[in-house]
């Protein structure tokens, strides 16, 4: 079978797979992508996965409900490890979100037209991931109704205000701004596609619903002109924003005096890790999606290869950062820093560290091979490994540093409980639930942007 008949066949040497499969035009693009939403037929796999995700989301509800009833004592946190799963999962989820903004904003500014097939669902992924991330700061005290006055600056009756010199409050602003801007970006991207759905829907109710969401969009040149300007400006605003968000998250650690946290290079290290995990999440979602919905013409091997290359590049930055962490600990000549590093590698959590090195550095080196980058299922496996590794990275950073700090008499151990696991796995379910609703009810690939990539959409002189 030749490469041109089978979209997943390995391309011949020297040939780059196209961004859009052959034979698509303005009409077929609309029907293929819009058809997923407008069909009355819900695929069986959708129902099965949705049901599983809904059960896991129910488990999350149970876990949160019990937490509110009992308090954080149901979790594994203790003294000295006061930060456990909640912050690990927060950092993990928010990192995953970063790829969405990178794809939609930064690659747009760099005029990388391949981003167009994957930006819409990468943005959705960002929003849903940030929602999971946002859950943890809200529930991490176990008493969220008391969390408002130190999180948000509002005139409370106690006359108490948030502490603006603390990175934790910077985090509130960074994450909430990030969520808002990602939502706006995603939202305005959807307007013209809602108009398409409004105009292609058969049923009156569906037409009305998408009509309201499209807000009366009619594709006027004046509107497109302002729209494109706004889209570009948002991309320009989201670019420094996305870099700032994980930098601020890293400052939650770096501003403290805990060995292993107090380093100046945390911001770029965290941002690289975020993009690394985010791209692997994009692949975890894109590979089954293109297969299950037959979207190989829009998400081609080219997209998968490019995502893999970004993963390889950011993975190498992450590897460099791990090396630098060890180097700094040694070069600082600070016995606590070096003791922490030694504990990280050979202490009671040493196996976590070596698993992390295996998952984040060793195995992803397979991405150097074109065969791995061009084989979707292999890429899927590597992505799962990377996301596991990124979770372990946060575990190692959070737990190992807290577990043994300056005074040996205050050393301790951390064991997560079933409630920790239920909350974490529950957020994965909730994420999947939201994502599947999105795939069913909104165009998961940007229709109008794909149109403008087609050869016949260009004006000939």
């Amino acid at each position: 079978m030749s490469f041109y008949d089978n979209p997943d066949a390995l391309p011949p040497k020297g040939v780059r797979p196209p961004i859009i499969g052959p034979g698509q035009d303005l009409g077929t693009v609309t029907d293929r992508i819009g058809g997923v939403v407008l069909t009355r037929h819900t695929p069986v796999f959708w129902i099965i996965i949705f049901a599983i995700a809904a059960m896991l989301a129910g488990m999350l509800q149970t876990a949160i409900g019990y937490l509110l009833f009992k308090g954080v004592g149901i979790w594994g946190i203790n003294i000295p490890v006061g930060w456990g799963f909640a912050i690990i999962n927060f950092v993990w989820w928010i990192g995953i979100g970063h790829a969405g903004t990178l794809i939609s904003a930064i690659l747009l500014l760099f005029k990388q037209s391949w981003r167009t097939s994957i930006n819409r669902f990468a943005e959705a992924m960002t929003i849903f991931a940030v929602m999971q991330a946002g859950l943890f700061p809200l529930i991490h005290t176990g008493r969220p109704w008391l969390a408002a006055y130190w999180l948000f600056p509002y005139p409370s009756s106690m006359g108490v205000w948030p502490q603006f010199r603390s990175p934790l409050i910077w985090d509130v602003f960074a994450v909430s701004t990030y969520f808002t801007v990602s939502f706006l970006f995603w939202g305005i991207g959807l307007i013209p596609d809602f108009a398409t759905l409004r105009d292609s829907a058969k049923s009156l109710v569906v037409r009305r619903i998408y009509g309201m969401l499209a807000m009366g969009w009619r594709g006027s040149a004046r509107h497109w002109n302002r729209y494109e300007t706004a889209y570009m400006l948002l991309a320009g605003l989201a670019t420094p924003l996305v870099l700032s968000v994980h930098s601020v998250v890293s400052l939650d650690f770096a501003v403290s005096v805990i060995p292993g946290w107090h380093t100046t290079f945390f911001p770029p290290y965290f941002v690289a890790g975020a993009i690394y995990s985010g791209f692997s999440m994009v692949l975890i979602l894109a590979i089954p999606f293109r297969y299950l919905y037959g979207m190989q013409d829009f998400i081609t091997l080219r997209h998968l290869q490019n995502c893999a290359k970004v993963m390889l590049a950011t993975g190498l930055i992450v590897a460099y950062s791990y090396g630098m962490e060890v180097f700094f600990a040694w070069y600082s000549a600070n016995k606590y820093e070096w003791g922490m590093m030694w504990n990280r590698m050979a202490g009671p959590y040493g196996h976590y560290y070596w698993m992390l090195i295996l998952c984040n550095i060793v195995l992803p080196q397979s991405l150097w091979f074109n065969r791995v980058r061009s084989t979707p299922w292999l890429l899927f496996l590597v992505s799962l490994v990377v996301n596991t590794g990124m979770w372990l990275e946060r575990y190692v950073i959070v737990v190992v540093s807290l577990q043994r700090d300056y005074v040996p008499s205050s050393w301790g151990m951390y064991w997560f409980t079933k409630w920790d696991v239920m909350t974490f796995v529950g957020t994965m379910g909730f994420f999947t639930l939201l994502f599947f609703l999105f795939i069913r009810f909104m165009p998961a690939i940007s229709i109008f942007e794909i149109r403008s990539l087609l050869p016949q959409s260009k004006v000939k002189e």
Binding site: D25, L26, G27, T30, P153, G159, W161, P162, Q163, F164, R165, P167, W170, F173, A174, T177, T180, V181, L184, F185, I188, I191, P192, A195, T196, D199, S200, M212, M215, G216, W217, R218, G219, S220, A221, R222, H223, W224, N225, R226, Y227, E228, T229, A230, L233, L234, L237, L241, S244, V248, L251, F448, E449, R451, S452, Q456, S457, K458, V459, K460
Partner: protein, 183 residues
């Protein structure tokens, strides 16, 4: 000579439908050169050439964005200053109340937030959206404006608009169809 454009006309305009973006841009350029100004093109994806052809390549969205950024920035910093210095000064490890470097992250985030909100809502406001009703949707084939066809509408409000003359003028660009758009 009747001033038909001054009285309320029963027609919103004349809608010409084209099959390719090239034909549309050609017609839009022609109409602009012939002196028509109140017109618009409708395309299924952004077509820069069409906006340029009808003389719509400048807009005020960047200015609104800048204003939003400045307001957000000033708002964020003043909030921090007022809270930390005026209303609730609290001594933490001898750090100054007006610790301006520590105020930068929130100021930055507020500037981005203000700019983004201003950009999106400014764009929608300038476009007059949400708009539940617009006459162009009365044009029978207009559903394809969000699919695979390209439309040029010369509006009856244009001083040069005469139903028959304009129709004849549009005919020269070989559109696949010309329809009158009722209000």
């Amino acid at each position: 000579m009747t001033a038909s454009h001054l009285t309320s006309s029963p027609v919103y305009g004349l809608m010409a439908e084209f099959e390719t973006p090239t034909d549309l841009v050609h017609a839009a350029k022609g109409a602009f050169e012939a002196g028509y100004r109140k017109m618009d093109t409708y395309t299924p994806y952004p077509l820069e050439e069409a906006a340029e052809a009808i003389g719509a390549h400048h807009n005020r969205v960047p200015l609104i964005c800048l204003i939003g950024a400045i307001l957000g920035m000033c708002g964020g910093y003043s909030l921090e200053y007022w809270v930390s210095v005026v209303n609730y000064p609290i001594n933490v490890g001898g750090k100054p109340f007006h610790a301006w470097p520590a105020f930068i992250p929130v100021t930055f985030e507020c500037a981005i937030l203000g700019a983004s909100l201003a950009t999106v809502f400014g764009m929608l406001a300038l476009n007059g959206l949400p708009q539940p009703y617009h006459p162009v949707f009365n044009s029978p084939n207009f559903v394809r404006a969000s699919r695979d066809r390209f439309f040029l509408c010369i509006e009856s409000q244009d001083p040069k608009f005469r139903l028959d003359d304009t129709r004849r003028f549009l005919q020269d660009f070989h559109p696949s169809e010309i329809t009158e758009v009722p209000y």
